[in-house]
């Protein structure tokens, strides 16, 4: 019994460098060898709703895709961008990229260039990238009221009126669906409050895990149609889109989120184990020392 106690006390007082090493390995090994840890990905109802809403759209419909994330949140959100674009392109839906964050310009450029060629989509005909404008919620309200008052050119410097797919697009009401890839402010909340809810445009979002609690009330109210919550949400959506593409006989390139889920799962388990060990040690030493010595 004493030996076990000593072991737990030792486990509960590990040097932080050892903790960092263990966490690092628990992330690295599954990333380098994903085949060692195969985990089943079961879509949650919120992810399924997002998929069903987008799947309901028809060929030629217009979707506004807003990029509100940057390099720090790229691993969580970018796989969603790729999966959404694959889904939209496979259904021949027109995609209009906007960005409420300056970094969003780079993320959208990367996402479009990663997927568009595979689906033989032409810039200005099948997709357009309008880019970033400063002003946060005012930009959202501006897009809701009059896009041309805000944007005169697209990201490449082409005049809006010279872009074929912008011909009939004047404000948010000309879109059939809005999707926000959001990592904070301005993001999903602003799209709901200033554009999609007042104008009654179907809206959905993919966001970081940390944002989910802020956005869930809108999802429960039906103001947001489902939610892709963090990397698990991205992996779930990837699996749904891959299944759909296979049904359509389209070649499937595996998404990044699914392969990263093993690393995230193992890292979570390791952190939980650390918490449990830390508490067992605390519990053992609490009475022994009369106060918290850890």
């Amino acid at each position: 019994m004493e030996a076990i106690k000593r072991l737990f006390i030792l486990l509960g007082s590990l040097d932080r460098r050892i903790i960092f090493l263990i966490v690092g390995l628990s992330v690295l090994i599954p990333l380098l060898k994903p085949e060692w840890v195969r985990l089943p990905i079961r879509p949650r109802p919120e992810s399924q709703i997002v998929f069903d809403e987008i799947n309901k759209l028809n060929e030629g419909d217009k979707v506004l895709l807003s990029f509100e994330y940057g390099p720090s949140t790229k691993p969580e959100i970018h796989p969603m961008s790729i999966a959404i674009l694959k889904h939209l392109y496979s259904k021949n839906i027109q995609v209009y990229g906007f960005a409420l964050w300056p970094d969003g310009n780079f993320m959208s450029t990367e996402a479009f260039s990663e997927v568009s060629d595979d689906y033989e989509k032409k810039y200005g005909v099948d997709y357009v990238n309008m880019g970033f404008k400063p002003g946060a919620e005012a930009v959202v309200k501006g897009i809701a009221a009059d896009i041309r008052a805000l944007y005169t050119v697209d990201l490449k410097g082409t005049f809006i009126n010279d872009i074929p797919m912008m011909k009939d697009v004047f404000n948010i009401e000309d879109f059939d669906f809005v999707f926000s890839l959001s990592a904070g402010f301005p993001g999903s909340t602003e799209w709901v409050q200033y554009a999609c809810d007042p104008k009654n445009i179907p809206f959905s979002t993919g966001c970081t895990s940390i944002q989910v609690t802020d956005i869930l009330p809108y999802v429960e109210n039906g103001q947001i149609k489902g939610i892709l919550a963090g990397m698990p949400g991205a992996a779930e959506y990837e699996s749904l889109v891959d299944a759909e593409l296979r049904k359509m006989d389209i070649a499937v390139k595996p998404g990044k989120a699914s392969s990263m889920m093993a690393a995230q799962s193992i890292a979570h388990v390791v952190i939980v184990l650390f918490i449990i060990f830390g508490n067992i040690t605390y519990f053992i030493t609490r009475k022994k020392n009369g106060k918290d010595k850890i």
Partner: protein, 344 residues
């Protein structure tokens, strides 16, 4: 006094009232002001604010260097980074591209091979087809950061092509052009730095949870139990945890919640251990190996936590914030709150 206090206050009150009433008055010019003009004003002011923020940042960092305040060395890096971003955004496009027309007879294959080599493509056939299809000018799909590198490549092509032009992407668009200096800076410097900063969180969260997440009292214990369930329930591995492991975890959770109230450890261990044995025996006889109850599924418990306690908390926060915004806005509009003028 009049210009510094009364005029700004009058502007704020006037614009505030107009914007507020714009939502209730069905007048075309007021609606147009709220929906269009006010937004354009905001857009212009926001653009100026970016300049102001950048200048302020530069001033602060320079002052830190001049006065040699604590960690002033880092400010040098900040100023260099700032200057490099300004240089690559406003003064150096670094987004040159080459267009070809009138390829000499019989030289199509060699031209496509040279281009394929430059683009690091093994198959030059696709390029040859694209060259044949191009009716006017053919744009080589590569951005040259410097004019010299572009000219070096043009020299390779010049014996086989009649007209080669060197052009640059327009100002503004060059920032988003793959291969330009600004794009290179974003992808190779800002992206890895941002990702690194965020990735460090995993290590700090692990270390902090290990040291600070303690069952000191009832509230801390609730937080800990909910945290563990959410961490496991959000990832696929949560769905693989068998019912008996979940029941052990639940019993540990109950023990953790009861721990602050039961000082005698033997009784506490008895309750937790006895509970675990009872649940496992019950489960084995009830056939939970085949059909485990929802209560013992981590993802389902996690969903319940999200759907009820978390949702209730989020809604309460949201309503509280909204009421706070209404009250503060009202105070500003009627001139009671003058914090925007620098008053405390």
């Amino acid at each position: 006094m009049l210009l510094k206090r009364h005029v700004p206050m009058l502007i704020v009150i006037g614009v505030g009232l107009l914007t507020l009433f714009g939502h209730f008055i069905n007048n075309e010019s007021i609606q147009a002001f709220v929906d269009k003009d006010a937004l354009q004003w905001f857009d212009i002011i926001a653009s100026f604010a970016i300049f102001l923020g950048a200048l302020n940042m530069l001033k602060l960092q320079l002052m830190k260097i001049i006065k040699k305040q604590k960690n002033w060395q880092y400010s040098i890096l900040a100023v260099i980074g700032f200057a490099f971003a300004i240089f690559s955004g406003f003064f150096y496009r670094g987004a040159n591209f080459i267009t070809l027309s009138d390829i000499k007879d019989g030289k199509l294959t060699i031209v496509s091979e040279i281009i394929a080599e430059e683009l690091n493509e093994s198959n030059s056939f696709a390029i040859q087809t694209a060259l044949e299809m191009s009716q006017n000018k053919f744009e080589i799909d590569k951005i040259f950061m410097t004019v010299e590198s572009a000219k070096r490549f043009m020299k390779k092509l010049s014996p086989f092509v009649e007209t080669i032009d060197l052009q640059s992407k327009p100002w503004g668009a060059h920032v988003q052009t793959k291969g330009s200096l600004f794009y290179w800076m974003f992808i190779n410097i800002i992206t890895p730095l941002g990702a690194t900063m965020f990735a460090l969180l995993a290590f700090f969260v692990a270390s902090a949870s290990y040291r600070a997440f303690r069952i000191r009292n009832f509230e801390a214990t609730l937080l800990l139990v909910a945290g563990i369930i959410l961490m496991l329930g959000r990832v696929p591995i949560g769905g693989l945890i068998p019912w008996w492991a979940v029941s052990i975890l639940i019993m540990f959770g109950i023990g953790a919640i009861a721990a602050p109230f039961i000082i005698e450890r033997t009784i506490l261990f008895g309750i937790v251990g006895g509970g675990i044995i009872i649940i496992i025996i019950t489960g084995t006889f009830m056939g939970w190996n085949q059909n485990p109850p929802d209560l013992l599924s981590v993802p389902i418990i996690q969903d319940w936590i999200f759907a009820y306690p978390t949702m209730a908390g989020s809604r309460a926060l949201m309503i509280g914030i909204a009421l706070g915004i209404v009250a503060t806005s009202f105070r500003i509009i009627i001139g009671l709150d003058k914090s925007f003028l620098g008053d405390k």
